[in-house]
């Protein structure tokens, strides 16, 4: 099973300034690299939408195209910020496609491709919420209109890491190695559990790929 990791920003697009000359693009790539290793150790195939060599900013359409070619069981877009606190897992704000809709006969609009996968994306977000708790990372789930989620033909979430405001880790930002390690463990645990549950009882809801 393949997991698609999308480290946010990159190249000429630094993303958010996280302070101390740390940019979001470096933190997301660091997280993606660690996650790739952890997931590969669990037997997942892992694809990234960019690597450290990217010079130009990667358009969101290109990221979505990479995701759609991968036929991944999960597409995870990684972000980091200085605003807010804890881990935020976002699914697409699109309404889920209706169950009885015959999607094979209808044209699929590029901007609403994710509609077919919203329910699976919510399940992925729920699995992450369950996994982040034991890792000691406060997590909230929400919906957002953020590229390239709406263009992805896979269960997709955007995970944003904000500074921790817990008693043990006050003000610790996403650039912190310990924070990243905890996050990697939690995401890996969520995906392992999701893979096990899907293998045990294949979902009747499949997207149009």
């Amino acid at each position: 099973m393949t997991v698609l990791l999308d480290p946010g920003h990159g190249g000429s697009d630094p993303g958010a300034d996280l302070g101390n000359k740390v940019t979001e693009k470096d933190v997301t790539l660091s997280l993606a690299t660690k996650l790739r290793t952890a997931l590969a150790a669990q037997g997942f195939g892992v694809e990234l939408t960019r690597d450290a060599g990217a010079i130009d900013a990667i358009p969101s359409g290109q990221r979505a195209a990479t995701a759609n070619r991968s036929h991944a069981m999960a597409c995870i877009s990684l972000h980091a910020t200085r605003s807010g606190s804890g881990v935020h897992v976002y699914t697409s704000a699109l309404p889920p496609a209706t169950e009885n809709q015959d999607t094979a006969l209808l044209p699929v609009h590029w901007d609403t491709v994710q509609e077919q996968f919203v329910n699976q994306s919510i399940r992925l977000a729920d699995a992450m919420k369950v996994a982040f708790g034991p890792a000691g990372l406060p997590v909230t789930i929400g919906a957002a209109t953020v590229p390239p989620l709406d263009n992805m033909m896979c269960p997709a979430v955007a995970v944003e890491f904000a500074p921790l405001n817990t008693l043990n880790a006050s003000g610790k930002g996403a650039e912190d190695a310990g924070y990243q390690d905890s996050a990697v463990k939690a995401v890996t645990a969520a995906l392992v559990k999701l893979r096990a549950s899907e293998s045990a009882a294949p979902s009747s809801e499949k997207g149009t790929q």
Binding site: D17, E24, T81, R82, H88, D111, A144, T145
Partner: protein, 217 residues
């Protein structure tokens, strides 16, 4: 006895200090006059008396990640687009106050707001959504580049700003069905790297549901 050359040096330096001080004072005076000339408050349109009225804003909170409705009182213009611009300007200005729950940089944020009747006809802007075809209005919120450039970057914080604007429009302008954002009249991919501004947002109630005790545990 102080040597003569030292006295000459002392008086020369004193004179130089006085000359520089006079030059600086003159410069300050000129700068002040220049600023005063720019802040010409001569009215260019007839003054209108608007009664103070109560209205509601959808206020964002970064810590909780929620939107809550809050009441305010202000004299608002009656003309819908001016009213919308005043409301949104007031909303975004509140975020620049000290101890704001959703801190944003101060400064002008909304250039203007336009209302366009739906459905749009051929030659007009594209329909925001196939289902947006019966009556209602599309609001076009024209933000300033300086606002977008200085907005904090992050999915959560940008989405809260967008939802706060949408929620405020939803409460105060029931005919508006969709909102499009432009920045200084041009389309822009994202607000500050995350929230998508290329598409129309459906206007819905963005007020966050209060979690149940079970959800809080």
């Amino acid at each position: 006895m102080i040597p003569r050359y030292q006295r000459i040096l002392f008086w020369s330096l004193s004179a130089a200090i006085l000359v520089v001080a006079a030059f600086l004072l003159h410069g300050c005076q000129q700068a002040r006059e220049k600023l005063t000339r720019r802040q010409n408050a001569t009215p260019i349109s007839a003054p209108t008396a608007a009664p103070v009225e109560t209205f509601r804003l959808a206020m964002a909170d970064d810590v909780t990640g929620r939107i809550a409705i809050s009441e305010r009182q202000l004299a608002l213009p009656q003309e819908p687009t001016s009213r919308a611009q005043t409301l949104l300007t007031h909303l975004l200005a509140e975020y620049s106050y000290k101890n704001s729950a959703h801190p944003l940089q101060s400064g002008p944020a909304v250039d203007d707001v336009l209302f366009v009747d739906l459905p749009l006809h051929a030659g007009g802007a594209p329909s925001p959504h196939p289902s947006e075809s019966t009556g209602g209005q599309l609001a076009i919120v024209n933000l300033r580049t300086s606002f977008a450039e200085h907005h904090p970057s992050g999915i959560g914080v940008e989405s809260l700003t967008v939802n706060s604007i949408i929620g405020t429009i939803y409460i105060n302008f029931p005919r508006v069905q969709a909102v499009r954002f432009v920045v200084d009249g041009h389309t822009r991919d994202t607000l500050a790297g995350h929230a998508d501004l290329t598409r129309a947002y459906r206007v819905t109630n963005t007020e966050s549901r209060v979690p149940t005790p079970e959800e809080l545990q």
